[in-house]
Amino acid sequence: MIEIRWHGRGGQGVVTASYLLARAVLSEGKYAQHFPEFGPERRGAPVVSYTRIDEEPIEIHSGIYEPDIVVVIDPTLLFNVETVLRGLKKGGSIVVNSPSPKQELMDEAGRREAKVYYVDAYRIAMDVFKRALYNTPMLGALIKASGLVKLDSALKAVRERFGGEVAERNVEAIKRAFEEVKLA
């Protein structure tokens, strides 16, 4: 089973990113579980969402405390490296929204033997949406970094969720991040 934790801020589509990944996984005939962490709904406050993926039916319904992968949608959350990396499994992966990951993150990831993947989702979002919408670019980056689902499955999930022009913009953002993500 692969467990993923998504970090972002209220209003950034953190829950949607996790939801789309789960839909993509399901469309490939595998098992998935997606669940948000609910508190008071505050725009701009840190929020977390979770995805579980498995070849077998998923029975567990507790939170995720030792993720295999952490995705950081909002770059400002990287000021608190400890929080976003909490519980990350040794040898796990972290996918961040950054033009170049900071030394502090690399050091902490190194201690955990974690791989760091990065993509400048800000640039992609401004090019594609003209707005700082990072969630779908980070989904594209995660898919490339992890190989968890096929790109086409994610694009299909996006088209089912949004439709029309909005879907196509998100498709473009996912594709670009998929191409541009790098291993640090």
Binding site: Y19, A22, R23, L26, G29, Y31, A32, Q33, H34, F35, P36, F38, I58, E59, I60, H61, S62, G63, Y65
Partner: protein, 394 residues
């Protein structure tokens, strides 16, 4: 046989989808977190013509359930959904629905009761309503929420039963989790749930009276019949579970058992925790530890005989309660099972765990600690403490 169509649905969406397929006639509901999305989706289905039902928005849950009672007496197929304070506000009418033998299906996205106000899961809402005369079922995951809602209509509307059914799904943990759900085709559901055939519908041509005064001369007999109806529901529930299994390849029984063939330590619980308990039990089993898990799908009528069948040979029984019965010797499920055990003559060591109130997560590490405590008790042959509070700061 179907079962190839998998949709990614949250618990709430899965319930709404099942209700649409069940082709209900009347929905009356009032929004409350974490149930809101159920009725939100249903209002969309009605609005866009996918479901031909009367959607009656009301000003409170008291009115919602009152509307459902009236609609059910006319012979309609009826649904509502609620949570927490909403269920509490329905309370007096819950009794009336059951006493009038009005089949209604209600989904409850379980949520803690105030105060302090909280929107997250525990079972205090339904346990507060456990003696209202409703059939009570618990879903372990989103698939079960979908499956149980469909079965609930078949049970409720059966002429051998004619009682309302509450299907519980853990608030947020299931109501807002997306999982893959195997859905039936619409026409398969139509065959499984043909149009309701009421016995004594309200009919202006043939007037009848529902709910008149019954004083000491008759009240007691009516209550005795109601108790009998609840017992009589058991074989129907079992039959419907088997029939649903033939249709969906997912047979339902009042109790789901894992590892009970040779379990020394057994744990019993309701709702989504059952899956977490089983996942951890699988790890214990790999190490040769003899743990078993019992998940109760049915809570009312309580599956007494079925439970006892599993408990022969169990040294330690751990009962998990996601609710408190204040001032009693344990949680509601503990009290229930203690009574069953006493009559059976079986005397395992019994531990009662109170956990998860107000959405406090039951972590796999909590479950491991609970199991270890169980094995320690089995070794010692006694329990040092019979009531354990797990996951709480003390």
């Amino acid at each position: 046989m179907s079962g190839n169509k998998v949709l990614g649905l949250s618990g709430n969406e899965a319930v709404a989808y099942a209700i649409k397929q069940a082709n209900v006639d009347v929905i009356a509901a009032y929004p409350i977190t974490p149930q809101t999305i159920i009725v939100e989706r249903l209002s969309e289905y009605v609005n866009n013509g996918e479901l031909n039902a009367a959607f009656i928005p009301v000003e409170s849950e008291h009115s919602a359930i009152s509307t459902c009672v009236g609609a059910s007496l006319t012979g309609a197929r009826v649904f509502t959904a609620t949570s927490s304070q909403g269920l509490a506000l329905m309370h007096e009418i819950l009794h009336i629905a059951a006493s009038l033998r009005a089949p209604i299906v209600m989904a409850i996205a379980n949520r803690a009761l105030s105060a302090p106000i909280n929107i997250h899961c525990d079972h205090s809402d339904i346990m507060n309503a456990r003696d209202t005369g409703w059939i009570i079922m618990f879903a372990e995951n989103v698939q079960e929420a979908y499956d149980l809602v469909l079965q609930a209509f078949k049970i409720a509307e059966s002429h051998e039963v004619l009682l309302p059914v509450a299907v519980n799904l853990d608030g947020f943990i299931l109501s807002h989790s997306l999982e893959g759900v195997n859905v039936l085709d619409d026409d398969e559901v139509s065959k499984f749930l043909p149009k309701r055939q009421p016995i004594y519908p309200v009919d202006f041509e043939k007037p009848v009276t529902y709910g008149p005064l019954a004083l000491p001369d008759y009240f007691f007999e009516i209550k005795r019949q109601q108790a009998e109806a609840m017992e009589g529901a058991k074989p129907v529930i079992e039959r419907v579970g088997i029939e649903y299994g033939k249709l969906s390849n997912r047979e339902y029984k009042p109790i789901k058992a894992f590892g009970m063939e040779d379990a020394e330590v057994a744990v019993v619980a309701l709702g989504s925790s059952v899956g977490t308990l089983r996942a951890v039990a699988r790890r214990f089993r790999k190490k040769g530890r003899k743990i078993g898990v019992l998940g109760l799908t049915l809570f009312r009528p309580f599956p007494r005989e079925e439970l006892i069948k599993y408990l022969e040979g169990v040294k330690v029984l751990i009962i998990l309660d996601r609710a408190i019965s204040y001032g009693s010797s344990g949680g509601p499920l503990y009290l229930e099972i203690a009574g069953v055990l006493y009559r059976s003559g079986l005397r395992p060591i019994v531990l009662n765990v109170i956990y998860g109130l107000g959405g406090r997560d039951l972590r796999p590490s909590d479950v491991e600690a609970i199991y270890e405590e169980g094995f320690k008790c089995a070794e010692r042959g006694r329990a040092e403490r019979e009531l354990l509070w797990v996951g709480v700061r003390e």
